[in-house]
Symmetry: none
Subunit: 217 residues, 2 copies
C-alpha cells in the first residue's frame, strides 16, 4: 500500500470509525460533513486517492460503495493470540508447552511484523533502548539477524536480549547500558542460537510507580 498523506489517513480513519460505529460505510456527503468540506468533490477526491493507493476499493455506482482493504486483522485469524514465554527450561525449545505462561490477543497492525511469542524482560541491560525489566518483548522467530537489530538469543541455558552486531566471524551482543559488558562470540569456536528478533514491546502496570529504578543513576 502506497503511503498515505496525513489528510488521507484521517479520511481512512474516519471511514473505519464509521464502519465500526454504524456498520455502514459513509457517503461522500457524510465525509464532507465530518471534515467540514463545503463540496462533496473534496470527499470524492480523497476516496479516489485512497483507492488509487490501494487503501480502499470503490464499488462503482453503488451508494456507500467503499470497502476498506486490510491485509491484516482478520479479527478471528489470530484467534489464540500470542504466547507469553516464561522461564525457559535448560535445553528445551523456547516455545515448549511447559514454558508458556499465558496467551495474549494483540492487534497485529501494532507491529511491523507478526510476533510469534512474548518474552518477559529481565534486568536492565537494554535500559537505554527503552526496554525495561518487566516489559514484554514481542519476538518474531528468526534464525539470523541484521546488524543493529535487537534479538533474542540463547547462550547455554540463558535467554538474553541484546543488540546484534556481526563483523565477519565475530558476533557481538551489545547491551544498551554502559553498566553491562558486550558479549563476544567467535562463530568458528562456539555457536550462537538466535531465537528471534524483537518486533515490538508491551508494558503494563501503572507507569511511573516502580520502586527505585537505577535509571539515570
Amino acid at each position: 500500500m502506497e503511503t498515505l498523506t496525513p489528510r488521507q489517513a484521517e479520511v481512512l480513519a474516519f471511514i473505519r470509525r464509521q464502519l465500526a460505529e454504524h456498520s455502514l460505510p459513509p457517503t461522500r456527503a457524510d465525509i464532507m460533513a465530518a471534515f467540514g468540506f463545503r463540496s462533496v468533490t473534496a470527499a470524492d477526491d480523497h476516496l479516489k486517492a485512497l483507492a488509487r493507493k490501494g487503501a480502499i476499493e470503490l464499488l462503482p455506482n453503488a451508494s456507500r460503495g467503499i470497502r476498506v482493504l486490510e491485509r491484516d486483522d482478520a479479527p478471528a485469524a489470530n484467534e489464540d493470540g500470542v504466547p507469553l514465554v516464561g522461564r525457559v527450561a535448560a535445553g528445551a525449545p523456547i516455545l515448549a508447552q511447559e514454558s508458556i505462561e499465558d496467551w495474549y490477543r494483540l492487534d497485529r497492525k501494532l507491529f511491523s511484523a507478526a510476533p510469534d511469542f512474548l518474552l518477559r524482560v529481565q534486568g536492565w541491560s537494554m535500559r537505554d533502548a527503552g526496554i525495561l525489566p518487566g516489559d514484554l518483548l514481542a519476538v518474531q522467530r528468526a534464525a539470523s539477524a541484521r546488524d543493529g537489530e535487537i534479538i533474542v538469543a540463547r547462550l547455554g541455558d540463558e535467554v538474553t536480549v541484546k543488540r546484534f552486531e556481526r563483523r565477519g566471524n565475530v558476533v557481538r551482543l551489545l547491551p544498551a547500558n554502559p553498566d553491562f559488558a558486550p558479549i563476544r562470540i567467535d562463530l568458528s569456536r562456539q555457536d550462537l542460537v538466535i531465537e528471534g528478533r524483537a518486533v515490538g514491546l508491551l508494558r503494563g502496570g501503572p507507569l511511573g510507580l516502580q520502586a527505585g529504578s537505577p535509571v539515570a543513576a
Copy 2:
C-alpha cells in the same frame, strides 16, 4: 427477538451473506433481485417486518441503512478496541472524533487498568522512563493523579507526558531526562488539565534500528 417466519429468516440470512461478502448491506433492489421479486416493496415489507421483530435496525433515509442486530459474541465483546489519538486540535477534547486515527484491539489483561485511549509519544523527555518517541502510551482517563504517576496533561494547546508531583498548591511535571526542564504550576494562579494516567506502553516497528537516538549520549 420475536420469532421469524421461514421467509423472513431467508431474507435475514441473505442480508448477512451480503454483509460478509461485500461488506455492504444490500439495497431493496438487491433483495428483490436475489429473491426474484418483481417489486421492491416486497423486499421493503420484509425489512419492515424484520425491524419490527428486532432482528435488524433500519436507518431512515439512508441508502443501505440496514443494521443487523446481534446480541452474541461475548468473547470479542470485552475488546472493542482502543482509539489512537493523533494530533489534538487546540481547544478540542482529546477524544474528539477528528483526532482519532485508528483503533487497536488489545488484550485487557495486558494492563493494570483498562486504557481509554492511546497517545503517540513525541520527543525524548521521558527517555529515562523507557518512553520513547513513536511509542504508543496507553492512557486511562483521570482528572487527578498521585505523586510519581506518569500522566498526560494539557498545557494550553499542547499535550504533554510527564511524571506528576504535587507539593501543596504547587504541581511539578517532571521529565525523565536531564536535558529537559521540569514544569512548575501554581494551582492558585493557573489551572492544570490532567487528561489521564499512563497504564501501559506499546512499541511497534523493528526495534533497534532507529537512527541516531540521543540515548546515552
